[in-house]
Symmetry: C2
Subunit: 226 residues, 2 copies
Amino acid sequence: MKVGILGTGNVGRTLAEGFAREGHDVVVGTRDVDALMSRTEPDPMGNPPFSAWRSEHEDVAVGTFAEAGAHGEVLVNATLGSASIDVLREAGLADAPDRIVIDASNALDHSGGFPPSLFVVNTDSLAERIQREFPDARVVKAWNTMTASLMTNPGLLAGGDHSIPICGNDDDARRQVADLLRSFGWHDVVDLGDLTAARGMEAYLLFWLGLYGATGSPLVNTKIVR
Amino acid sequence: MKVGILGTGNVGRTLAEGFAREGHDVVVGTRDVDALMSRTEPDPMGNPPFSAWRSEHEDVAVGTFAEAGAHGEVLVNATLGSASIDVLREAGLADAPDRIVIDASNALDHSGGFPPSLFVVNTDSLAERIQREFPDARVVKAWNTMTASLMTNPGLLAGGDHSIPICGNDDDARRQVADLLRSFGWHDVVDLGDLTAARGMEAYLLFWLGLYGATGSPLVNTKIVR
Protein backbone atom coordinates (compact mmCIF):
# COMPACT_ATOMS: atom_id res chain seq x y z
CA MET A 1 0.00 0.00 0.00
CA LYS A 2 1.17 3.55 -0.69
CA VAL A 3 1.23 5.49 2.56
CA GLY A 4 1.83 9.18 3.14
CA ILE A 5 2.81 10.06 6.68
CA LEU A 6 2.54 13.71 7.63
CA GLY A 7 4.96 14.70 10.37
CA THR A 8 8.56 13.78 11.15
CA GLY A 9 8.48 13.74 14.95
CA ASN A 10 8.52 10.65 17.08
CA VAL A 11 5.06 9.52 15.97
CA GLY A 12 5.73 10.06 12.28
CA ARG A 13 9.05 8.23 12.46
CA THR A 14 7.69 5.29 14.42
CA LEU A 15 4.72 4.87 12.11
CA ALA A 16 6.95 5.17 9.03
CA GLU A 17 9.20 2.47 10.39
CA GLY A 18 6.22 0.24 11.18
CA PHE A 19 4.59 0.63 7.76
CA ALA A 20 7.90 0.07 5.96
CA ARG A 21 8.60 -3.04 8.03
CA GLU A 22 5.28 -4.47 6.84
CA GLY A 23 6.30 -3.85 3.25
CA HIS A 24 4.29 -0.69 2.54
CA ASP A 25 5.62 2.06 0.29
CA VAL A 26 6.08 5.06 2.58
CA VAL A 27 6.71 8.74 1.98
CA VAL A 28 7.12 10.87 5.08
CA GLY A 29 6.08 14.46 4.50
CA THR A 30 7.53 17.62 5.97
CA ARG A 31 7.23 21.33 5.24
CA ASP A 32 10.79 21.89 3.98
CA VAL A 33 12.80 18.79 3.09
CA ASP A 34 16.16 20.59 2.80
CA ALA A 35 15.75 22.28 6.16
CA LEU A 36 14.74 18.98 7.77
CA MET A 37 17.61 16.98 6.31
CA SER A 38 20.28 19.59 7.04
CA ARG A 39 19.34 20.03 10.70
CA THR A 40 21.97 18.50 13.00
CA GLU A 41 20.56 19.30 16.44
CA PRO A 42 17.83 17.29 18.21
CA ASP A 43 14.27 18.37 17.36
CA PRO A 44 12.21 20.46 19.84
CA MET A 45 10.94 17.26 21.52
CA GLY A 46 14.48 15.98 22.07
CA ASN A 47 14.41 13.38 19.28
CA PRO A 48 17.67 12.86 17.34
CA PRO A 49 17.94 14.89 14.12
CA PHE A 50 15.74 13.42 11.40
CA SER A 51 18.72 12.88 9.10
CA ALA A 52 20.27 10.54 11.67
CA TRP A 53 17.03 8.56 11.90
CA ARG A 54 16.70 8.54 8.11
CA SER A 55 20.18 7.11 7.61
CA GLU A 56 18.96 4.00 9.44
CA HIS A 57 15.64 3.88 7.55
CA GLU A 58 16.54 4.25 3.90
CA ASP A 59 13.42 2.31 2.89
CA VAL A 60 11.40 5.37 3.90
CA ALA A 61 11.24 8.21 1.36
CA VAL A 62 11.06 11.84 2.41
CA GLY A 63 9.13 14.55 0.59
CA THR A 64 7.08 17.67 1.04
CA PHE A 65 3.63 17.48 2.55
CA ALA A 66 2.29 17.79 -1.00
CA GLU A 67 4.45 14.91 -2.22
CA ALA A 68 3.47 12.67 0.69
CA GLY A 69 -0.16 13.64 0.13
CA ALA A 70 0.00 12.81 -3.58
CA HIS A 71 1.75 9.51 -2.86
CA GLY A 72 -0.50 8.09 -0.19
CA GLU A 73 -3.61 6.02 -0.81
CA VAL A 74 -3.78 6.32 2.95
CA LEU A 75 -2.58 9.42 4.75
CA VAL A 76 -1.62 9.45 8.41
CA ASN A 77 -1.82 12.67 10.35
CA ALA A 78 1.11 12.53 12.75
CA THR A 79 1.50 16.27 13.18
CA LEU A 80 0.87 18.43 16.22
CA GLY A 81 -2.84 18.94 16.66
CA SER A 82 -2.42 22.67 16.34
CA ALA A 83 -0.84 22.26 12.88
CA SER A 84 -2.97 19.43 11.54
CA ILE A 85 -5.52 21.24 9.39
CA ASP A 86 -2.90 23.45 7.73
CA VAL A 87 -0.70 20.45 7.00
CA LEU A 88 -3.58 18.42 5.57
CA ARG A 89 -4.40 21.35 3.30
CA GLU A 90 -0.76 21.49 2.15
CA ALA A 91 -0.97 17.76 1.53
CA GLY A 92 -3.74 18.42 -0.97
CA LEU A 93 -6.51 16.72 0.95
CA ALA A 94 -9.08 19.21 -0.32
CA ASP A 95 -8.48 17.90 -3.85
CA ALA A 96 -8.29 14.20 -2.97
CA PRO A 97 -11.82 13.01 -2.26
CA ASP A 98 -12.34 9.67 -0.55
CA ARG A 99 -8.77 9.55 0.74
CA ILE A 100 -8.52 7.67 4.02
CA VAL A 101 -6.92 9.87 6.67
CA ILE A 102 -5.89 8.16 9.86
CA ASP A 103 -5.82 10.90 12.45
CA ALA A 104 -3.32 10.02 15.18
CA SER A 105 -2.99 13.54 16.55
CA ASN A 106 -3.96 15.07 19.88
CA ALA A 107 -5.18 18.60 20.48
CA LEU A 108 -2.55 19.23 23.13
CA ASP A 109 -2.17 22.69 24.59
CA HIS A 110 0.97 23.10 26.68
CA SER A 111 0.51 26.84 27.17
CA GLY A 112 -0.82 26.41 30.70
CA GLY A 113 2.10 24.27 31.92
CA PHE A 114 1.66 20.83 33.41
CA PRO A 115 -0.65 19.01 33.12
CA PRO A 116 -1.32 20.00 29.51
CA SER A 117 -4.90 20.52 28.41
CA LEU A 118 -6.74 20.15 25.10
CA PHE A 119 -7.60 23.06 22.82
CA VAL A 120 -10.72 21.30 21.56
CA VAL A 121 -12.67 18.96 23.80
CA ASN A 122 -16.02 17.80 25.12
CA THR A 123 -18.54 19.01 22.51
CA ASP A 124 -16.17 18.73 19.55
CA SER A 125 -12.89 17.07 18.61
CA LEU A 126 -9.92 17.64 16.37
CA ALA A 127 -10.97 14.71 14.19
CA GLU A 128 -14.41 16.25 13.66
CA ARG A 129 -12.81 19.60 12.84
CA ILE A 130 -10.66 17.88 10.22
CA GLN A 131 -13.70 16.08 8.82
CA ARG A 132 -15.66 19.34 8.58
CA GLU A 133 -12.72 21.06 6.88
CA PHE A 134 -12.34 18.21 4.36
CA PRO A 135 -15.85 16.79 4.03
CA ASP A 136 -14.92 14.36 1.24
CA ALA A 137 -12.04 12.76 3.15
CA ARG A 138 -12.67 9.59 5.10
CA VAL A 139 -11.25 10.42 8.51
CA VAL A 140 -10.60 7.58 10.95
CA LYS A 141 -9.36 8.40 14.42
CA ALA A 142 -6.79 5.88 15.63
CA TRP A 143 -3.49 5.63 17.51
CA ASN A 144 -3.91 8.86 19.48
CA THR A 145 -4.55 6.90 22.69
CA MET A 146 -1.03 5.55 23.19
CA THR A 147 2.67 6.22 23.02
CA ALA A 148 4.30 5.98 19.58
CA SER A 149 6.28 2.82 20.20
CA LEU A 150 3.12 0.75 20.73
CA MET A 151 1.31 1.97 17.61
CA THR A 152 2.71 -0.59 15.21
CA ASN A 153 4.19 -2.84 17.85
CA PRO A 154 1.53 -3.68 20.45
CA GLY A 155 3.43 -6.79 21.51
CA LEU A 156 5.95 -4.54 23.30
CA LEU A 157 3.44 -4.40 26.19
CA ALA A 158 1.91 -7.47 27.86
CA GLY A 159 2.24 -9.57 24.74
CA GLY A 160 -0.23 -7.27 22.99
CA ASP A 161 -3.10 -8.05 25.37
CA HIS A 162 -4.63 -4.57 25.29
CA SER A 163 -6.97 -2.62 23.02
CA ILE A 164 -7.05 0.05 20.36
CA PRO A 165 -10.23 2.07 19.76
CA ILE A 166 -11.06 3.58 16.39
CA CYS A 167 -13.92 5.67 15.03
CA GLY A 168 -14.97 7.39 11.82
CA ASN A 169 -18.01 8.15 9.71
CA ASP A 170 -17.19 5.82 6.80
CA ASP A 171 -17.86 2.14 7.51
CA ASP A 172 -15.55 0.87 4.79
CA ALA A 173 -12.70 3.12 5.89
CA ARG A 174 -13.07 1.92 9.48
CA ARG A 175 -12.96 -1.68 8.27
CA GLN A 176 -9.81 -1.03 6.24
CA VAL A 177 -8.09 0.66 9.15
CA ALA A 178 -9.12 -2.16 11.49
CA ASP A 179 -7.57 -4.69 9.07
CA LEU A 180 -4.43 -2.60 8.87
CA LEU A 181 -4.17 -2.46 12.66
CA ARG A 182 -4.60 -6.22 12.89
CA SER A 183 -1.73 -6.58 10.43
CA PHE A 184 0.41 -4.71 12.97
CA GLY A 185 -0.53 -7.22 15.67
CA TRP A 186 -3.52 -5.56 17.28
CA HIS A 187 -5.81 -8.36 18.42
CA ASP A 188 -8.50 -6.12 19.89
CA VAL A 189 -9.55 -3.28 17.60
CA VAL A 190 -12.64 -1.68 19.16
CA ASP A 191 -14.87 0.07 16.64
CA LEU A 192 -16.60 2.95 18.44
CA GLY A 193 -18.69 4.00 15.45
CA ASP A 194 -19.01 7.48 14.02
CA LEU A 195 -16.62 10.35 14.52
CA THR A 196 -18.41 11.85 17.52
CA ALA A 197 -16.64 9.07 19.45
CA ALA A 198 -13.41 10.97 18.80
CA ARG A 199 -14.52 13.32 21.60
CA GLY A 200 -14.02 10.45 24.01
CA MET A 201 -10.86 9.13 22.33
CA GLU A 202 -9.27 12.57 22.47
CA ALA A 203 -10.48 13.33 26.01
CA TYR A 204 -8.95 9.97 26.99
CA LEU A 205 -5.58 11.64 26.52
CA LEU A 206 -6.18 13.51 29.78
CA PHE A 207 -6.72 10.15 31.48
CA TRP A 208 -3.66 8.66 29.79
CA LEU A 209 -1.53 11.50 31.17
CA GLY A 210 -2.56 10.39 34.63
CA LEU A 211 -1.61 6.79 33.89
CA TYR A 212 1.73 7.93 32.51
CA GLY A 213 2.33 10.05 35.62
CA ALA A 214 1.35 7.25 37.99
CA THR A 215 3.32 4.47 36.33
CA GLY A 216 6.30 6.57 35.29
CA SER A 217 6.33 4.86 31.91
CA PRO A 218 4.66 5.70 28.60
CA LEU A 219 4.33 1.95 27.99
CA VAL A 220 0.83 1.90 29.39
CA ASN A 221 -2.47 1.24 27.66
CA THR A 222 -5.93 0.01 28.50
CA LYS A 223 -7.60 -3.25 27.68
CA ILE A 224 -11.30 -2.79 27.12
CA VAL A 225 -13.02 -5.47 29.20
CA ARG A 226 -16.57 -6.40 28.22
CA MET B 1 -17.44 1.93 59.50
CA LYS B 2 -20.12 4.62 59.54
CA VAL B 3 -20.90 5.65 55.98
CA GLY B 4 -23.08 8.48 54.74
CA ILE B 5 -24.20 8.14 51.15
CA LEU B 6 -25.57 11.25 49.51
CA GLY B 7 -28.04 10.50 46.75
CA THR B 8 -30.79 7.92 46.32
CA GLY B 9 -30.55 7.21 42.60
CA ASN B 10 -29.08 4.08 41.11
CA VAL B 11 -25.53 4.86 42.25
CA GLY B 12 -26.54 5.74 45.80
CA ARG B 13 -28.67 2.62 46.13
CA THR B 14 -26.04 0.28 44.71
CA LEU B 15 -23.31 1.70 46.91
CA ALA B 16 -25.57 1.55 49.98
CA GLU B 17 -26.30 -2.09 49.27
CA GLY B 18 -22.61 -2.84 48.79
CA PHE B 19 -21.48 -1.10 51.98
CA ALA B 20 -24.26 -2.73 54.00
CA ARG B 21 -23.39 -6.15 52.59
CA GLU B 22 -19.84 -5.68 53.88
CA GLY B 23 -21.19 -4.89 57.34
CA HIS B 24 -20.86 -1.12 57.33
CA ASP B 25 -23.37 1.12 59.08
CA VAL B 26 -25.04 3.08 56.28
CA VAL B 27 -27.29 6.13 56.20
CA VAL B 28 -28.47 7.21 52.76
CA GLY B 29 -29.18 10.92 52.61
CA THR B 30 -31.83 12.74 50.63
CA ARG B 31 -33.28 16.25 50.61
CA ASP B 32 -36.75 15.38 51.92
CA VAL B 33 -37.20 11.94 53.48
CA ASP B 34 -41.00 12.06 53.58
CA ALA B 35 -41.25 13.07 49.94
CA LEU B 36 -38.79 10.34 48.94
CA MET B 37 -40.52 7.58 50.90
CA SER B 38 -44.03 8.51 49.80
CA ARG B 39 -43.23 8.61 46.09
CA THR B 40 -44.79 5.66 44.25
CA GLU B 41 -43.75 6.32 40.65
CA PRO B 42 -40.31 5.47 39.16
CA ASP B 43 -37.66 8.18 39.63
CA PRO B 44 -36.67 10.44 36.69
CA MET B 45 -34.02 7.91 35.60
CA GLY B 46 -36.56 5.10 35.50
CA ASN B 47 -35.47 3.40 38.71
CA PRO B 48 -38.23 1.86 40.85
CA PRO B 49 -39.53 4.11 43.64
CA PHE B 50 -37.02 4.34 46.48
CA SER B 51 -39.53 2.97 48.97
CA ALA B 52 -39.74 -0.27 46.97
CA TRP B 53 -35.97 -0.59 46.98
CA ARG B 54 -35.84 0.29 50.67
CA SER B 55 -38.31 -2.44 51.62
CA GLU B 56 -35.74 -4.97 50.37
CA HIS B 57 -32.81 -3.21 52.08
CA GLU B 58 -33.92 -2.60 55.64
CA ASP B 59 -30.30 -2.69 56.86
CA VAL B 60 -29.87 0.71 55.19
CA ALA B 61 -31.09 3.75 57.13
CA VAL B 62 -32.54 6.79 55.38
CA GLY B 63 -32.12 10.36 56.56
CA THR B 64 -31.68 13.93 55.44
CA PHE B 65 -28.45 15.03 53.81
CA ALA B 66 -27.57 16.59 57.18
CA GLU B 67 -28.23 13.33 59.02
CA ALA B 68 -26.22 11.26 56.54
CA GLY B 69 -23.44 13.85 56.75
CA ALA B 70 -23.37 13.77 60.54
CA HIS B 71 -23.42 9.96 60.55
CA GLY B 72 -20.64 9.24 58.11
CA GLU B 73 -16.98 8.94 58.95
CA VAL B 74 -16.79 8.55 55.22
CA LEU B 75 -19.19 10.36 52.90
CA VAL B 76 -19.89 9.26 49.37
CA ASN B 77 -21.08 11.79 46.83
CA ALA B 78 -23.53 9.89 44.64
CA THR B 79 -25.53 12.90 43.51
CA LEU B 80 -25.80 14.46 40.09
CA GLY B 81 -22.69 16.49 39.40
CA SER B 82 -24.78 19.62 39.00
CA ALA B 83 -26.15 19.22 42.56
CA SER B 84 -23.04 17.97 44.31
CA ILE B 85 -21.68 21.11 45.95
CA ASP B 86 -25.08 22.18 47.28
CA VAL B 87 -25.73 18.72 48.68
CA LEU B 88 -22.31 18.50 50.33
CA ARG B 89 -23.01 21.86 51.96
CA GLU B 90 -26.37 20.59 53.23
CA ALA B 91 -24.52 17.54 54.54
CA GLY B 92 -22.46 19.84 56.75
CA LEU B 93 -19.15 19.24 55.06
CA ALA B 94 -18.02 22.81 55.71
CA ASP B 95 -18.11 22.06 59.45
CA ALA B 96 -16.60 18.59 59.28
CA PRO B 97 -12.87 19.01 58.65
CA ASP B 98 -10.82 15.99 57.59
CA ARG B 99 -13.89 14.06 56.53
CA ILE B 100 -13.13 11.66 53.67
CA VAL B 101 -15.43 12.35 50.74
CA ILE B 102 -15.45 9.77 47.98
CA ASP B 103 -16.63 11.64 44.93
CA ALA B 104 -18.34 9.23 42.52
CA SER B 105 -20.15 11.89 40.52
CA ASN B 106 -19.83 13.01 36.93
CA ALA B 107 -20.31 16.53 35.60
CA LEU B 108 -22.81 15.38 33.01
CA ASP B 109 -24.62 17.95 30.93
CA HIS B 110 -27.53 16.50 28.96
CA SER B 111 -28.78 19.87 27.74
CA GLY B 112 -27.23 19.41 24.29
CA GLY B 113 -28.82 16.00 23.66
CA PHE B 114 -26.81 12.91 22.82
CA PRO B 115 -23.93 12.41 23.34
CA PRO B 116 -23.95 14.28 26.66
CA SER B 117 -21.04 16.56 27.48
CA LEU B 118 -19.38 17.69 30.71
CA PHE B 119 -20.04 21.04 32.35
CA VAL B 120 -16.52 21.17 33.77
CA VAL B 121 -13.63 19.56 31.92
CA ASN B 122 -10.05 19.80 30.71
CA THR B 123 -8.47 22.48 32.91
CA ASP B 124 -10.60 21.76 35.98
CA SER B 125 -12.82 19.02 37.37
CA LEU B 126 -15.81 18.61 39.59
CA ALA B 127 -13.65 16.95 42.26
CA GLU B 128 -11.31 19.93 42.30
CA ARG B 129 -14.29 22.29 42.54
CA ILE B 130 -15.56 20.34 45.54
CA GLN B 131 -12.10 20.41 47.12
CA ARG B 132 -11.82 24.18 46.64
CA GLU B 133 -15.28 24.68 48.11
CA PHE B 134 -14.47 22.51 51.15
CA PRO B 135 -10.71 22.90 51.57
CA ASP B 136 -10.55 20.91 54.81
CA ALA B 137 -12.32 17.87 53.40
CA ARG B 138 -10.27 15.00 52.06
CA VAL B 139 -11.74 14.43 48.61
CA VAL B 140 -10.93 11.19 46.82
CA LYS B 141 -12.25 10.67 43.30
CA ALA B 142 -13.36 7.10 42.72
CA TRP B 143 -16.09 5.04 41.07
CA ASN B 144 -17.10 7.65 38.50
CA THR B 145 -15.49 5.61 35.71
CA MET B 146 -17.99 2.76 35.64
CA THR B 147 -21.60 1.70 35.86
CA ALA B 148 -23.10 1.42 39.35
CA SER B 149 -23.42 -2.34 39.44
CA LEU B 150 -19.65 -2.83 39.18
CA MET B 151 -18.73 -0.36 41.91
CA THR B 152 -18.92 -2.74 44.83
CA ASN B 153 -19.11 -5.89 42.73
CA PRO B 154 -16.24 -5.91 40.22
CA GLY B 155 -16.49 -9.69 39.87
CA LEU B 156 -19.65 -9.22 37.81
CA LEU B 157 -17.36 -8.53 34.83
CA ALA B 158 -14.52 -10.83 33.69
CA GLY B 159 -14.03 -12.20 37.20
CA GLY B 160 -12.94 -8.75 38.34
CA ASP B 161 -9.91 -8.60 36.03
CA HIS B 162 -10.12 -4.86 35.37
CA SER B 163 -9.03 -1.68 37.10
CA ILE B 164 -10.28 1.21 39.19
CA PRO B 165 -8.38 4.50 39.25
CA ILE B 166 -8.47 6.85 42.22
CA CYS B 167 -6.92 10.22 43.02
CA GLY B 168 -6.91 12.81 45.78
CA ASN B 169 -4.64 15.25 47.55
CA ASP B 170 -4.44 13.41 50.89
CA ASP B 171 -2.15 10.36 50.88
CA ASP B 172 -3.78 8.74 53.90
CA ALA B 173 -7.28 9.21 52.51
CA ARG B 174 -6.26 7.64 49.21
CA ARG B 175 -4.79 4.68 51.10
CA GLN B 176 -7.98 4.23 53.12
CA VAL B 177 -10.12 4.36 50.01
CA ALA B 178 -7.84 1.91 48.22
CA ASP B 179 -8.19 -0.51 51.15
CA LEU B 180 -11.95 -0.07 51.09
CA LEU B 181 -12.06 -0.79 47.35
CA ARG B 182 -9.98 -3.92 47.84
CA SER B 183 -12.50 -5.04 50.46
CA PHE B 184 -15.12 -4.88 47.70
CA GLY B 185 -13.02 -7.16 45.51
CA TRP B 186 -11.03 -4.67 43.44
CA HIS B 187 -7.66 -6.30 42.78
CA ASP B 188 -6.22 -3.42 40.77
CA VAL B 189 -6.67 -0.03 42.42
CA VAL B 190 -4.56 2.44 40.44
CA ASP B 191 -3.48 5.46 42.47
CA LEU B 192 -3.15 8.40 40.07
CA GLY B 193 -1.90 10.83 42.70
CA ASP B 194 -3.24 14.29 43.43
CA LEU B 195 -6.66 15.61 42.49
CA THR B 196 -5.59 17.15 39.18
CA ALA B 197 -5.82 13.56 37.89
CA ALA B 198 -9.59 13.90 38.33
CA ARG B 199 -9.53 15.89 35.08
CA GLY B 200 -8.57 12.71 33.29
CA MET B 201 -10.86 10.48 35.34
CA GLU B 202 -13.83 12.72 34.61
CA ALA B 203 -12.93 13.25 30.94
CA TYR B 204 -12.74 9.44 30.69
CA LEU B 205 -16.54 9.46 30.99
CA LEU B 206 -16.67 10.74 27.41
CA PHE B 207 -14.60 7.74 26.37
CA TRP B 208 -16.74 5.39 28.45
CA LEU B 209 -19.85 6.64 26.66
CA GLY B 210 -18.26 5.46 23.42
CA LEU B 211 -17.54 2.04 24.89
CA TYR B 212 -21.09 1.80 26.17
CA GLY B 213 -22.43 2.77 22.75
CA ALA B 214 -20.18 0.31 20.92
CA THR B 215 -20.76 -2.68 23.18
CA GLY B 216 -24.41 -1.96 23.94
CA SER B 217 -23.85 -2.82 27.58
CA PRO B 218 -22.87 -0.72 30.58
CA LEU B 219 -20.92 -3.72 31.88
CA VAL B 220 -17.71 -2.46 30.34
CA ASN B 221 -14.56 -1.21 32.01
CA THR B 222 -10.87 -0.88 31.28
CA LYS B 223 -7.95 -2.81 32.63
CA ILE B 224 -4.89 -0.65 32.91
CA VAL B 225 -2.07 -2.62 31.32
CA ARG B 226 1.48 -1.64 32.28
